[in-house]
Amino acid sequence: MTFNPSDILTIVPEIAVVALAMLVILTELLITRRETVLQLMTVAGLLVVMALAVLTFDKAGGAFNGMTAGDGLSTFMKALLAGIALLAVLMSRDYLTPPTDAGGEGRGVRHGEYYGMLLIATCGMMILVSATDLVTVFLGIETTSIALYVLAGIRSERARSGEAALKYFLLGAFATGFLLYGMALLYGATGGKTNLTEIGRAITDLGPDRPVYLYMGAGLVMIGLMFKVAAVPFHFWAPDVYQGSPTPVTAFMSAGPKAAALTALIRVFAGALPDLSAAWGPALWVVAALTMTLGNIVAISQKDIKRMLAYSSIAHAGYLLVGALAAANTGTYNSATAGIMFYLTAYYLMNIGAFTIAILVSRARENGDYQIDDYKGMAALHPWTSAAMALFMISLAGIPPTAGFFGKLYVFSAAVKAGYISLVVIAVLNSALSVFYYLRIVVYMYMQPEVKPARVRMAPAMALVIVICALGILKFGLLPGDLMRWADRSASMTVKPSPRAAVALNDHDQ
C-alpha cells in the first residue's frame, strides 16, 4: 500500500470539476451574480475538463491501490459526462430567471449554486465511472445523488419541485440502504475484500460452498444499482421526479446518472461477480425485458411530454441493460461495452435536444405546461425548431439515418453475438412499439391544424444546444465510424475485470 504521485493524473478531471464548482460559487458570492458571466465561466471550465479527461489518459491500469481505474472506459465516460453537464448548463439559460414579463419568478435561485451543484453531481458521476472498489462505487453514487436531490428541489418556490425532491430523496436513500447492506454482506462473504477484482478472486477461491449471504449481498447490490438506472420494478420514482424537477435538471438526470450507474453495473458484475452469473444473468434478463416493455407501453398513454420522455428514458434504460447484460455476462465484454458507449452518446444528444425544445414550447404557453397537444401545428410557425424536434424523435425511435439507430444496432448486435437472441427480439419489437408515440409528436407538428399560435422565444444558448444536438445526431447517424472506433478503442483499453473475463476478451471479433 504505497502512494504513487502519478495516480493523481487519473483523477485530474474530478479535481478540475470540483475546483470549477468552488470557483463558480465564490465568483457569484464575491464578484458578480450575472447569469451570463457565470454561465460562460462554467461552460469554458467544462470544455477544459473535457480536454483534460482525454489528455490525461495515460495507461489502462488502476490507481490508488485499485480504488479507481484510469482506463479507456472511464476516460470516455468522463468526457461524455462533461459534455452532458455542458449542454445542461447551456440549456438552463433563462430557466431559473425567466424574463421580467413572466413575473420575475425564481429570483431567489442563485445561478452559481445551481451550476455548482450540477458540477458536483458531475464529479460524483466521474468517480462512479472509474470506481473499481465498493468504497468508490458507494462514494460516487452518493456524491451524485445528494447533489441531484438538491437540484431536483432547487426551484423551491414551486410545489412540484419540492415534491420531486422529497420523492427522489426518500426513495434514493432507501435504495442506498439496500446497496450498502449488499456491500456489507459481500465484504463479509469474501473475507474482507472491497476491491472488485479481489472480490471476484475470493469468490472463485470459495469454490462451491458459498455462504447464503454472498447471494443476498449480490442481489441487494443489484437492487441498489437497478434503482439508480431506473429499471423496472425499481423505476416508480422516475416519472414523478422527472416531471417535477426543473426541466434542464430532468434532462441532465435522465442522461448522466444513467450512464454512470450502467458503467458501475458493468464493472461490478463483470469484475466482482462473474462466478455468480448463473444467478444474476437470468434476473438481469427479466429486468431488461420488463424495463423496456413497461416503459414503452406506459409512454404511449402519456399526455405530458416530460412524463412521456421519462417513460421513454425508462425504455432506453431497458435497451441499455440488454447491452450491459451482454457486456457483463459473456465474452463480448469489449464490443458490447463499446456499443453502450455509442448508445449513451447518441441518447444524451437526442434526449437533451428534445428536452430543450420542450422548454421552449412550454415557455410559449401562458400556463407553462408541457402538454403534448401544444405541439399541434407547430411546423407552420416554427419550421426549424419543428424540424429539429422531428429529428430528435426519429432518433429516439431508432430510425436511420440517425445516431439513435446506430446506437441500437451496435448494442443489439453485440447482444446477439453474446447469445441473447430472444431478448434482442423483444427489444426490436419494443423499438417498433416506441415509434408510435415518438412519431405522434411529428404528426402533431406537421399534420394537425394549429391549436393556438405561440411565439417561441429562443435565447442564443438554447439555439446552440439544439444545433449541437441536431448536428451530432446527423454526424453520428451518417458517419458513425469515428465515434465507434473511439468507443471500441476505449473499451479495449479497459481494466481487465477478472481472469475469466480477460480470457473471454480473446474471442472478440476485432
Binding site: L134, V135, F138, L139, E142, I146, Y149, V150, G153, S156, A159, R160, G162, E163, A164, A165, L166, K167, F169, L170, A173, F174, T176, G177, L180, Y181, M183, A184, L185, Y187, G188, G191, G192, K193, T194, Y213, F236, P239, D240, Q243, G244
Partner: protein, 103 residues
C-alpha cells in the same frame, strides 16, 4: 480471535434492524419517520460491517463505516432541508398528502 459472542448473533441483530427499517419505510406515512427508518437501515449496515471487520480482523470494514456515517450526515442535511421546503408549501409532512403528481 477470541470473541465472547458469535458472529452470527451480530449479523442476525443487524438483519433484524434492517428489516425493521424497511418495514418502517414501507408502512409509515410521516416523511420524518420514514427518514428515521432509513437511518436505522444504515446503522444496521454499519453493525454488519463492524461485526465482519472484527471477526475477520480486517479494518477495511471500519473505514467503510466512517464513510457511511459521513455520507449519512450529508444526507440528513439535504433531506431535512427538503422536508422543511415541503412543510412550507403544504403545512404537513404526510407523504400521502404530497401528491400533485401521482406516485
Amino acid at each position: 480471535m477470541n470473541m465472547a459472542v458469535d458472529l452470527g448473533w451480530y449479523l442476525a441483530l443487524a438483519a433484524l434492524l434492517f428489516c425493521i427499517g424497511v418495514a418502517g419505510v414501507l408502512t409509515r406515512r410521516n416523511a420524518l419517520i420514514i427518514f428515521m427508518s432509513i437511518e436505522l437501515m444504515l446503522n444496521a449496515v454499519n453493525l454488519t460491517f463492524i461485526a465482519f471487520s472484527r471477526s475477520l480482523t480486517n479494518v477495511d470494514g471500519q473505514v467503510f463505516v466512517f464513510l457511511v456515517m459521513a455520507v449519512a450526515a450529508a444526507e440528513v442535511a439535504v433531506g431535512l432541508a427538503i422536508i422543511v421546503t415541503i412543510f412550507r408549501h403544504k403545512e404537513t409532512v404526510d407523504i400521502d398528502k404530497v401528491n400533485l403528481m401521482k406516485w
